[in-house]
Symmetry: C2
Subunit: 337 residues, 2 copies
């Protein structure tokens, strides 16, 4: 870069002169971060005496300092956290920002240790993330001096919170089944205690009508098998489509239907939820399923925490990000335009 | 604790007086960490003038400072990294140590950014981790001033490296099949380019003899289906046991056998590898499989990086940690004692 060959005083020189790290020097000059007033004054004095020009700040911030964001999660299994983290990283790495992930399980003591470590290491912001959108992490982040964004977990009322739009995603799935001419659609899903289960069922009923059938069970293949056994043991019409609450249930449903000699999608269309590649792609036939776009949700969380760290205004409240139907072979119908 | 109520001068007070963080104060007094000589002298002067007693150091180090370990991984899918991270965290959290995970993909530029961030934040050690034991991360950590431990990835010759013992784990699987009276055992596994595939095949041949059949393909359910189709299309004896290179292959093998009307384990015993709970437990019947004990491997990595950070001697070289056979229902035989 042209800049590197000039004799311009850099933030690096200021940091050296003041005996602090580049990150600390940046924060001192920017009036952000946690440090003693003595340190801040010392850095400013060094900047003055060296003739460090404030209008080099913007470039310096991006090129020289180590910006870090902490990502807290209780999703130790990682199915939701890892795509989210990939999105956060992709978004921030161009700004030279590193993402540190700490796994806190559901343990308040562990959460406190990790949050303290992040504060002590002066991360520039925290993204709090979980495995369901209606549960809070076991730690109160509302009083921190650094920005916090909540992603795929419940946040305080005045916070910036990002969740997937389960209702919209489920509407896409249901409308897709309707467009394919399916009318006897059943919804086989997870436990009623999940807010996302309620949202998905609400969309199901909006399309199928109030007398549609919602069956609750565990988030497992075994429940998919059991639900098919129950449905085909009843008197009367059998379903021509099953909208499942996750891909594991859908996998069980597809296997159970095939083992009854029924053709998927010829006799019954099946849709999953999550687009968990390793399950959805290995199902025979591969699953059409709703993708929550967690990577994009992570990117948005990265954008927002960075904006907050830079002092920009961000409207608080819950933002619902759209899901997307990923069409494979379990419903019939062609590739979606 | 009794300590908290005494008027003893704490590291906290020294840090306050010197205008540095607790971590920096600890490191300054301990002659570790990266900082200017001016900072180190300032901390020591503050400690002297306050009457901070060196023999309180050991307690102070544990109780007051923020010890952090960075975990680098290119396993973005997370199947291997997450249990490893859980083990590292479990081991270190009792010492008040936080673990920061950074995902570097296979991108050298990304790796450099994250390593620089970790150094800038003065982590006390780094654990480098990957998704296979015969590949290096795209970053050279051999010249760092802080300790580095390699876990489930290839490390430099003079480094401390931890890997799972694929040979021993595979011997357990093969001997288990033999004890159950199986003799026509076939090995259906992943690509030949993986060192772990070679180790597992070596154990297979040690038990089955040189003329045993090893079939290489992808790490997928689809390959399990195809391998069964090929085996049952051949002339001559069909296998009475299939030792699979991972749980996904085993899942495909079990499904394919059932669809041919064969009973697992009555007609054919099947063993997987990885003990990937979500696959192994959902297979019908649930898979007997080899667990690489990655959580224990993580614990050991945590123990060793902490020992190195505390200045203790640790013998360099590759340590192979034992795998363990987890017995479910796909082989027959009872619970293992």
């Amino acid at each position: 870069m042209a800049l590197a060959s000039t004799k311009r005083v850099r933030i690096y020189d200021v940091a050296q002169a003041a005996g602090v790290s580049i990150a600390t020097a940046s924060k001192a000059l920017n009036d952000t971060g946690r440090m003693t007033e003595e340190t801040r004054s010392r850095v400013k004095a060094a900047a003055n005496s060296l003739g460090f020009r404030p209008n080099a700040m913007a470039r310096a911030l991006i090129q020289r300092r180590t910006f870090t964001v902490g990502l807290l999660t209780n999703d130790t299994y990682g199915r939701f956290t890892l795509p989210l983290m990939a999105g956060v990283s992709e978004q921030l790495v161009d700004h030279g920002v590193s993402v540190f992930l700490c796994s806190i399980e559901d343990d308040p003591a562990l959460a406190k240790i990790h949050v303290d470590a992040m504060l002590d290491k002066q991360v520039d912001g925290i993204i709090a993330s979980g495995k369901r959108i209606d549960r809070r992490l076991p730690v109160d982040l509302s009083q921190l001096d650094i920005p916090v964004v909540y992603a795929f977990t419940d946040g305080p009322e005045d916070a910036v919170t990002l969740v997937s739009d389960d209702y919209q995603g489920s509407m896409q799935a249901m409308q897709w089944l309707r467009e394919l001419g399916r009318s006897r659609i059943v919804h086989v899903t997870g436990p009623q205690t999940f807010a996302s289960v309620g949202e998905r069922a609400r969309a199901y009923h909006a399309v199928q009508g109030g007398d549609g059938l919602v069956m609750h069970g565990s988030w497992s293949e075994a429940w998919g098998h059991e639900a098919v056994a129950r449905l085909w043991a009843r008197k009367g019409d059998t379903p021509d489509a099953i909208f499942c609450g996750n891909d594991q249930i859908a996998r069980g449903v597809v296997d159970a239907l095939r083992e009854r000699g029924l053709d998927v999608p010829g006799d019954v269309s099946v849709i999953g939820f999550d687009n968990w590649e390793i399950v959805a792609a290995a199902t025979r036939p591969p699953l059409t399923t709703v993708d929550m776009n967690l990577k994009e949700l992570g990117r948005e969380a990265g954008r927002l925490v960075l904006a907050l760290a830079e002092g920009k205004a961000v409207e608080p409240g819950v933002r619902k990000l759209p899901c997307q139907l990923v069409v494979r072979e379990s419903c019939g119908g062609g590739l979606r335009s």
